[in-house]
């Protein structure tokens, strides 16, 4: 494998891994803040125990999210130096803003929250988790704005002499339509992920007769969060796909394996293509649904891969502008499928637990345990889709992935770092998963009345 292939693998591995933890952090930060607010308002002990218990799960997850995020900040320079030179004038700004505006806020206020129990006034302590959670939202916006430039470059001018894109309007970059829709698609899916986690954990606790006082409200909160989020994810997903059709028609065509331009296109439930991926041989679909998704009109015309390829060759010169179609097709479907399945399970579960019931059946608890994994898979496939179906471009229409790799870094170096990162990430995943299971098994702690004058720490490393 070449340094380019290895660098792509490394980016894929480290980024998909990092993004397992990010949505859980964003969503559960707010849910924990909500629980603590409930405790602050009602002074009910169960909400305090719920805050501390889910707070613990949140922090175990947060730790890995933070440390794997450091790699994200530097690997552009390490493995993608040509890309960094090309986009640095534009791409660096949102990254620096993310650090200065969001990371400081998150890390400082989360530190205050973790170690501030019983040390600062209750109201201030509550504010600190809300501020930290808000920090995660800001962080998400800046990084999505940076990514949006890669999907749909705006607010720039090409400087041929310098061989780079240069910023002409920061407001256009930050206000990129792609960034806005991506934000409203990503944030609800983060809430969906956290809701599913809360619900799965709570259902397991109820099944094993653990602290129903904490688990019952958590189950309901989790399931309702999933359902509301799913509606928002679906609505923003619809906007996103329409935007994608105009901004990156090839991506939409690949997602649907539409080879030839036509109107009234069905949404494919199953498409079998020829092995070289040049056209489909068999298709089952929902009539006109794709046309509607892509254009908002059942009779809308969807451009096909083959026609787009021809027009791109004319526009950008000879080359291959078609992404891996089966990969795009399946990752798009798996994203929607896993997300919808999570919503379906949550919907049914809400019905089963109506009026305080709880079905003590193996099938029920098994589906509830599977629930948290579904949105995680959906999130991963969503990003795998949107990044891989943009190929061969790293910045759409401007800069190809193959020209972005660091010319001075050998394949051996990239291979070495990739292997070590992967091994380390694997070990960390096992440890983190073990800790999460253990935390759930131990369950919420009993609240201990603290002596006002006690000098011992509520929290110590």
């Amino acid at each position: 494998m070449s340094a380019l292939d290895l660098a792509r693998w490394q980016f894929g591995i480290t980024t998909v891994y990092h993004f397992i933890f990010v949505p859980i952090t964003i969503g559960s930060g707010f849910l924990v803040a909500g629980l603590q607010t409930a405790w602050y308002r009602t002074n009910k002990d169960k909400y305090l125990r719920a805050t501390k218990f889910f707070g613990k799960l949140f922090l175990i997850n947060f730790a890995i999210g933070v440390v794997t995020g450091i790699v994200q900040e530097f690997q552009f320079g390490m493995n993608w130096s040509s890309y960094s030179r090309f986009v640095g004038d534009i791409f660096g700004a949102p990254l620096a803003m993310e650090g200065l505006i969001a990371f400081f806020l998150e890390s400082t206020f989360l530190g205050i929250w973790i170690f501030g129990w019983d040390r600062i006034p209750k109201k201030l302590h509550l504010a600190s988790i809300w501020i930290a959670a808000t920090g995660t939202l800001l962080s998400a916006y800046f990084i999505l704005a940076a990514n949006a430039f890669m999907q749909h470059p705006v607010g720039y001018v090409l400087n041929g002499a310098h061989g780079r894109a240069e910023l002409t309007s920061i407001w256009k970059v930050l206000g990129n339509s792609t960034a806005v829709t991506a934000f409203f698609h990503t944030i609800p899916s983060a809430f969906l992920t956290a809701g599913a986690l809360f619900a799965g954990v709570a259902a397991w606790m109820l099944f094993h007769n653990k602290d129903a006082e904490v688990a019952k409200p958590a189950l309901k909160i989790g399931l309702i969060t999933v359902l509301i989020s799913f509606v928002l994810v679906a609505v923003s997903g619809d906007t996103t796909s329409r935007l994608m059709t105009t901004q990156q028609p090839m991506k939409m065509a690949a997602a649907e394996a539409v080879y030839n331009t036509k109107a009234n296109v069905p949404f494919s439930l199953l498409t079998i293509g020829t092995l070289n991926g040049s056209h489909s041989v068999f298709q089952i679909g929902l009539p006109s649904v794709l046309s509607f998704m892509a254009t908002g009109n059942v009779n809308g015309t969807v451009e096909g891969v083959n026609d787009l390829e021809k027009s791109y060759e004319q526009k950008y010169g000879p080359g291959n502008y078609t992404p891996n179609i089966p990969f795009a097709y399946w990752s798009f479907r798996l994203m929607i499928g896993f997300g919808a399945l999570a919503a379906l399970i949550s919907f049914l579960a809400l019905w089963f637990i109506r009026k305080g019931r709880f079905p003590r059946k193996a099938w029920f608890v098994r589906s509830m345990i599977a629930l948290p994994f579904l949105p995680i898979l959906a999130n991963s496939f969503g990003w795998i889709f949107t990044e891989s179906a943009r190929q061969p471009w790293v910045v759409f229409g401007l800069f190809k992935t193959s020209t972005g790799v660091s010319p001075g870094v050998s394949a051996a170096s990239v291979l070495f770092t990739m292997v070590v990162f992967t091994l380390l990430y694997g070990v960390l995943a096992v440890i983190e998963f073990g800790l999460i299971l253990r935390t759930i098994k131990v369950g919420p702690e009993k609240t201990v009345e603290r002596d006002e004058n006690s000098k011992t720490f509520t929290m110590a490393y």
Binding site: K56, I60, A63, V66, V67, G69, I70, V71, E73, F74, F76, G77, M78, S81, S84, R85, V87, G88, D89, I90, G92, A93, A96, G99, L100, F103, F104, S107, T108, G111, I112, I114, F115, G116, R119, I120, G163, R164, E166, L167, I170, S406, P407, G408, V409, T417, V420, F421, L424, L428, I431, L435, T439, K441, V442, G443, T456, F457, A460, Y461
Partner: protein
């Protein structure tokens, strides 16, 4: 001052923030096995860092992001060039963060001692490697101008391990260890405080020696600018005050002056560098400076607004968080030190 110079200064400020703050928590991590003798003490030592280390580390992320935004050519050449050392630093920072958060989840001796070892190693490596990296930047590295027009590092890995850079690495290592000891003496009580005070003095003397050698080499061998000489004098004077204060048990002053000395080291190195950001080891060879490595005037202007508005706010609330956790931590405050968070099953 041109925007290019302003951003050169801003990036120096970010590195000052990073070295002054994470410098002491590297030091604390390295000192962990010698300064704390039992579980309660180890937990007390790490708890001094608890609410702070993550915010300290953000200074690095912002320094990286700001370099990317303001000097993309520097960011690209530096991080693709110093590939393996940077990789080792990233690896260390990953392991370190997780170790802090996970070590007390279980009370098991084995579990904790493994994380503690990880904390020490992962604090040691970056403390050494940042010095090696910065010394190399100041010294100059082999750079070539590629046909496509950009300037690329062409020195390989072993080139980075030259005597001057290694001396730089040992200097930051020793500096951070003493800085961490002064921090612990200020932030703990009892036995730990006494040990930290003593260690601060011993390692502090070694630091003084290394700093004089390193700065002397810089002045005599690389650059004898007025700023470098003045900066070096500040480093040495501040350091001697820190040692004197520590000897008298004036912990606040010892820490304050070791912070000033650490900041002065960064100022000295950046002054030596200016207006270059990555000079060529061969005089007259292609190199990167604040003009040919920079972003456009527009981008620098945008980032200037962001920095001018946000930096005071950040300093204010980060300072406030230090104020909240200003009290000393003692091992007697750790209730049931042998018990981990997840040990008890209800």
């Amino acid at each position: 001052m041109s925007l290019n110079s302003f951003w050169f200064v801003t990036i120096a400020v970010l590195w000052i923030g990073y070295f002054v703050l994470e410098g002491f928590d590297f030091g604390v991590g390295i000192l962990l096995p010698v300064v704390a003798k039992n579980q309660a003490e180890r937990r007390a030592v790490l708890t001094t860092l608890g609410p702070l280390w993550d915010g300290n580390e953000v200074w690095l992320l912002v320094a990286g992001g700001a370099t990317f935004a303001a000097f993309p050519e520097w960011y690209a050449t530096l991080f693709s060039g110093f590939y393996l050392p940077l990789f080792l630093i990233l690896l260390s920072l990953i392991v370190r963060g997780v170790s802090f958060e996970y070590r007390s989840k279980y009370g098991s001796e084995k579990w904790r001692s493994r994380w503690d070892l990880a904390i020490t190693i992962s604090s040691f490596l970056p403390a050494l490697l940042w010095g090696v990296a910065f010394a190399n930047i100041v010294r100059g590295v082999p750079l070539t101008k590629e046909p496509a027009g950009y300037i690329q590092y062409s020195g390989g890995f072993w080139n980075l391990l030259n005597p001057y850079a290694l001396l730089g690495g040992l200097t930051t290592l020793s500096l951070f260890v003493s800085h961490g000891a002064f921090f612990l003496a200020l932030k703990t009580d009892g036995e730990i405080r006494v040990r930290a005070n003593k260690l601060g003095q011993q390692v502090g003397l070694v630091t003084a020696l290394l700093a004089v050698l390193f700065l002397g080499w810089t002045m005599l061998g690389l650059t004898s600018k007025g700023g470098v000489i003045a900066g070096s004098v500040v480093v040495v004077v501040a350091w001697l005050i820190a040692l004197a204060a520590n000897a008298k048990g004036r912990e606040g002053y010892a820490f304050l002056f070791s912070a000033i000395a650490t900041a002065a080291v960064v100022v000295t190195l950046f002054t030596g560098l200016y207006p270059n950001v990555m000079p060529n080891i061969t005089a007259g060879g292609p190199g990167l400076n604040i003009f040919n490595a920079s972003s456009t005037h527009y981008t620098l202007g945008v980032m200037t607004w962001v920095a001018l508005i946000m930096t005071p706010i950040v300093l204010l609330y980060q300072g406030w968080s230090y104020w909240i956790f200003r009290k000393r931590v003692s091992s007697s405050q750790i209730s049931s030190p042998e018990v981990g968070v997840l040990d008890t099953v209800h």
